[in-house]
Amino acid sequence: MKKTIKRLFLITELIFMVMVGAFYFLAGDQLVYKSTVHPIDLQDADSVSDELISGRVISQDFVCEMDKIEQIGIVFTKFYKEAKGTVTIELREDASLLFKQVFDMDDIPEQQRLFLRIVRPIRNQRGKTVTMRIYGDSQEGSAAAVMMNQGLSDGTILVDGRSVKGSLCFSVNGSDEIWIGRYYWYLAAALVTALAVLLYVSYKSYVNDRFNYLIRGILAVYKYSFLISQLVLRDFKSKYKRSILGVFWSFLNPLMTMTVQFLVFSTFFTADTQNYPVYLLSGVVCFSFFSECTTMCLSSISANARLITKVYIPKYIFPLSRSISSSINLAISLVPLVLACLILGVPIRPQALLFFYFLACLIVFALGIGMFLSALMVFFRDIQFLWTVLTQIWMYATPIFYPAEIIPDKFKFIVRINPLYHFIGNARTCLINGVSPEPSAYLYCFLFAMVSLIIGSYTFKKTQDRFALYL
């Protein structure tokens, strides 16, 4: 036993180190930068600058308040005419040229933003004044002009060195550095060390036969692993017994739910959502796991009343085994999700691995809620009916079949405090967009899961001695 625990701890530590290292590469830029809190927003146009005929230079200064400029948008007009020639846009800081791009007139949209993606982002300009210079080589009559705002803006534009009150209609977007990126390896080292210390202390207290929560938990899992596996097996066998398709239902179910919802909602939401079917299916898979797991846990104690009043078994085994069988179901229903990704052309990037972090948080969260509900169910049978309604409400309050963007600002707080939105939303970012969410998302999801687990297991522990009396 001593050897097993030692090996288990060493493997845990190693896996943790690998995960921390892999995370750095998977999270990539999102670990270092987040979109800036000081973008320059586009202003409404109310006037037009002078035409960009050959030799004319229009310039405007702006103060850069971000660490990295990534994108600039400018609104031009061609006066709805055939325009010829080119337009050049430059960014300068004092004498040095930061960026320059030449556009052909045909590429410039009429009174819509022309986006300049700055491929090699401009860094280290925070707090400095950047000059944007725009000039063209067109003949008079076939030249473009920049849209301006003169009514509200009190800035100054220079046209051939002559100042004009107003501002050009342009926007600047970029990102700010976050401290985690700079200190990631220190943080990683701290976490790895903390885990090592924890494991070492636990191991020592096991060797010296002192009480330790971690060791006790491991021994309990070890002791009852056979029972847990039998209970999980029973859940599966009795669930699909006497049904012809059996386990196939585990992945037919989400597919069918998705198809129905897709047929109903696709006309409303496809336009503004990238890869709507995958968006929908990932939401459906996650939410059905949550509702199945909590509902199964809810009845886990009361359904096993005969056992609990006849044989001594640690009672947490029942919600735990139910949530394990739901998790296996979830794993099965990931198969259609992956298939849908492949068929619908969502590229599966390595970042999709981060999806599992949020799934793990979701599972722990559901277990916590499930333990809470199963304890409550012993004392108030009404909770089973109430919970059906509550999950319905929760489903509509979570962006599953609709995009989060359509929620009006005044109700945004509902999704912000909704843990399921965080789990599902971040999981989707990893899977569909192939990028990691910003580091704080990991922390929030971890905290949501832990708070739920602590509340659930605390309630359970406090009430479990009275279960046998009320069942």
Binding site: Q230, R234, K241, K310, F379, R381, A468
Partner: protein, 243 residues
């Protein structure tokens, strides 16, 4: 002096009983509002103390509602005492209600593993004892059939075989010897004696005084949660018969 396997010290068990079971929010509100939320406290065990040495067999006798089953449940850990302490050393196999963990949809084979796991046996142990269980239960070719098709006698036999296949340190028996037909009763009775002679410490509840006299070293007579008398089997049984 022999090692004490079970120590029960000043144990009381109080049940709160409402006149009707209140199981729903609505009932709680309505009863609370009408001021009828009263509990009758019911003392199932009142300051009971005893201990049991290794290898000894203790019988519990008394009328219905005397607290025999509560005592067994307390010792097997299903209930926690209101006051007092219970110390149990060794693994307990409770034969309280056999087959409590059976799932009717599963086959006999699957149920052997499930029920064995519930009783705390390991996988390897069950695998090695599997044939013995099936033979003893006389289930034969029905083993791979869902047990909802079993007769009640078959189910009881299977349950007894699973529960009695171990060599427990502490065995708790609540009148389960009346299982199956006469021949199987005889067989299970012999198995029980075999377990007892194998060094198990046994707690035994029965209304059958002859069985108690035959099997037990000591007897405790309970009435309304109180110990009326405890001591040598013959003496206590005689006093109980006279009452």
């Amino acid at each position: 002096m022999a090692e004490k396997m079970i120590e029960v010290k000043n144990v009381s068990m109080k049940f709160r009983m409402s006149d009707e079971p209140i199981n729903s929010l609505k009932e709680i509100f309505t009863t609370a509002l009408s001021g009828k939320l009263k509990y009758n406290e019911f003392l199932a065990l009142d300051d009971v103390s005893f201990d049991l040495e290794k290898g000894k067999t203790l019988g519990l006798i008394g009328k219905n509602g005397a607290g025999k089953s509560t005592t067994l449940k307390l010792i097997s850990g299903i209930l926690k005492p209101t006051t007092g302490t219970i110390i149990v050393r060794g693994n307990v196999v409770p034969m309280l209600e056999l087959g409590a963990g059976f799932d009717l949809e599963l086959t006999g084979r699957e149920n052997i593993y499930l029920n064995g796991a519930i009783l705390g046996y390991s996988k390897e142990y069950l695998q090695s004892k599997f044939d013995e269980i099936v033979d003893f239960a006389e289930i034969g070719e029905f083993i791979d059939m869902p047990i909802r098709n079993y007769s009640s006698g078959m189910m009881a036999r299977l349950a007894f075989s699973i529960a009695s296949v171990v060599q427990p340190e502490i065995l708790i028996v609540d009148e389960i010897l009346a299982v199956g037909d006469v021949a199987f009763q005889e067989k299970s009775y012999n198995r029980m004696k075999e377990l007892m002679s194998g060094g198990a410490t046994v707690l035994f509840v029965s209304h059958d005084l002859d069985k108690i006299e035959e099997m037990c070293d000591q007897v405790i007579w309970l009435d309304k949660g109180k110990v009326v008398m405890k001591g040598k089997t013959r003496k206590v049984c005689e006093a109980y018969r006279k009452s």
